[in-house]
Amino acid sequence: MEKLSKILITIQGNFVAPRFDMVSEVLIASTDGQKLIDKPRTILISRPSADELCSFITKEDISIVVCGGIEERHHKYLSWTKKKIFDSVIGPYEEALQLVLENRLVSGTILPGAVGDGACP
C-alpha cells in the first residue's frame, strides 16, 4: 500500500499565491502517491503570517508544500522539518497539483496557465 501524504498549496484565486508570507488561503489535498484520495479542501487563514503558516504545516503533518516566493528562513525551516518544497511556482494551482501527482513539478516552474488572457488575480 502506498504511503499517504498531504499536499499544501498556497493559493490566491485560481493561482498559486505569489508570496508565502501574504497567503490568506491554502488548499490541502491528500494523495496515495498517485491520485487524490479525497476532495481537496481549502482553508482560510485569518492573519497572513509566514511563521504561523509554517506552524500550521507542521501541525497538519503536510509532506509537500507548493508555493510562490518564500523567504530563506522559512524555506530552510520547512526543509529542515523534512517537507518537500516546490517554491517559485507560477500558474493555476490545479495545474500545479496535477504535476505534483504526476511527480513532474519542480521549483521555479511557470505553468502554461500562467500566461492567460483573464483579469489579473
Binding site: 493561482f15 505569489p18 508570507d21 530563506e72 530552510k76 507560477i90 489579473c120
Partner: protein, 470 residues
Amino acid sequence: MNLENGLVESMKLSSLHQIAVSELLNGFPHAIIILDTGLRVVEMNCYLEALTGYTSAQARGVYGSFILRCNLGPKNQHFHKALETGEPISIEGNIINRNHRKIPIQFTISPLRSESGNLVGLLVALEDISVLQNKSQRIYDGTDVILGHSPKMQEVFGLMPVLAHTDASVLLTGETGTGKDIIAEAIHKASKRARHPFIKVNCGALPESLLESELFGYVRGAFTGAVKDKPGMFRLAHDGTIFLTEIGDLPMPLQVKILSVLDDKEFYPVGGTQKIKVDVRVIAATHRDLREQIQNGKFREDLFYRLNVLRIHLPPLREREGDIRLLLDHFLREFNSKLNKSIKGFTTNAHNKLLSYPYPGNVRELRNIIEYAANICQGKRVRSEHLPQYIFTHQVSSSMLQPKAYDNGQQEEISPPESFKPRGGNWNDIEKEMILQALTKTRGNRSQAAEILGWGRTTLWRKLKMHGFT
C-alpha cells in the same frame, strides 16, 4: 494597438523592434518592468532580471505580480490606481526573489500613454533600498557601519575611498568574520557602479560544473536539463560588481576562465558559440593564504597577480586594540533595540571575559555572543551565566594562542562542562567537535543537542550544514 507598438509610435521610432525596447530599458540605471493594462509583463530590463531571478523571456505574458512578488497588496491596488488615475505613484515595499531573498524596494509606478493619449500600460521602476532602509548596515562610506577605532581599522578606512574611486580588481583577505562581505559591498556602493547590480558568488559553495554554469551561464541544450538559456552571474553583474568570495576554493579550470574574463572582458557561456561581452568589476575575497595556495599548486599565480591589484587585509578582532569594547556596546545597543530590552551593560566578570576572549570567529562571533546574551538575559546587566558556555571552554585552547589575553588575574565562576573539552585547533574544528559531542550525548536528537549548545534549532541546523554533517 498593443503596448509595445504604442511605445514605438510615441517615440517616433517606427523601426524600433522588440529587442530595441529591451535594450532601451537596459539603459536605465534601475530595474524596470513594463506591464500592459491587464498587468501582464510586456518587457523587463536586465537589472530586473538580476533582481528577481527571472529572465525577460520567462516573464513575458505572465502577470507582473507573480514575477515581482511584491507586498503591495494582493489585489495590486497601486497598479490599478495608477491605471485609473493616470498619475504616477511612488511607494515603498519589498519583493521576494527566486533566491528567497526579501529585498526592500522603492516602487515608482508610471502610467504609459499612446500618442492618442490612451493609457496603454505601466512602467514600474524598482530601486533596491536595502542599504538605505537598514540603518544598522549603513555602508555607503564604510566607516559608518564598520566600526573601529584601532589603528589597523583606520588604515582600512583610509584605503576604502581610494578603492571606490578606481575600477581595478580588489582582493580582500582576512579571517572569517572580519567583514570582507561588508567591505566589498561598501566599495561597490561608494563606486560609480553603485546603481548597478552587486552580485555575490561563493566559489566554495558549489561543485566545479555547477559553479561554471552559475558564473558564466549556459545556452539551451548545453547539457541534459538545460532546457533554456541561463544568463550567469557575470552577465547579471554587467556594469556592476561581481564579488567572488572564497576565491581560494575556486577549482583550477575555472581559474583560467576567470583570468580570461578579467583580461578580455568577454567569455563563452557553457555550450555557447557566441562570446558575451561584459563590463564587470571584480572584487575577490578569501580567508586562505593565496601565496601558500600557489606554492601548493592550488592557485594560479597569474590570477593572483591579476586580482591582487589592490588589496585590503582585514585584521582579526584580537589585533584591533580597543575595538572589542566598542563593538560590545554597539551590538548590545542593537539587540536592546531589536529585542525591545533595556539591558544597561555587563557585570565586571562578564565584561572581562568578553574582553579577554580571543574571538576566533571575529566580529561575527562577537555579534552572535551578544545576541545570545541579550536573548538570555532577563535583568539589567549581562552576567557570566548569560554568555554561551563554549567561550569558557575555549579558554584552554585559546590560551595557547593568546597567553597575554588571559594573564589578567580574572577568575570566572563558571567552569566548563566536562562534555565540552575541545582538543584545540581552529575555531571550526572546535565547533565541529562540540556539535558532535552534543549530538552523541543526545543520541542524535537535534533539539536536545541545540539546547545543550545554547543555540536555536535553526542555528544548529545551519552549522550542521556548514560543517557538512547533512
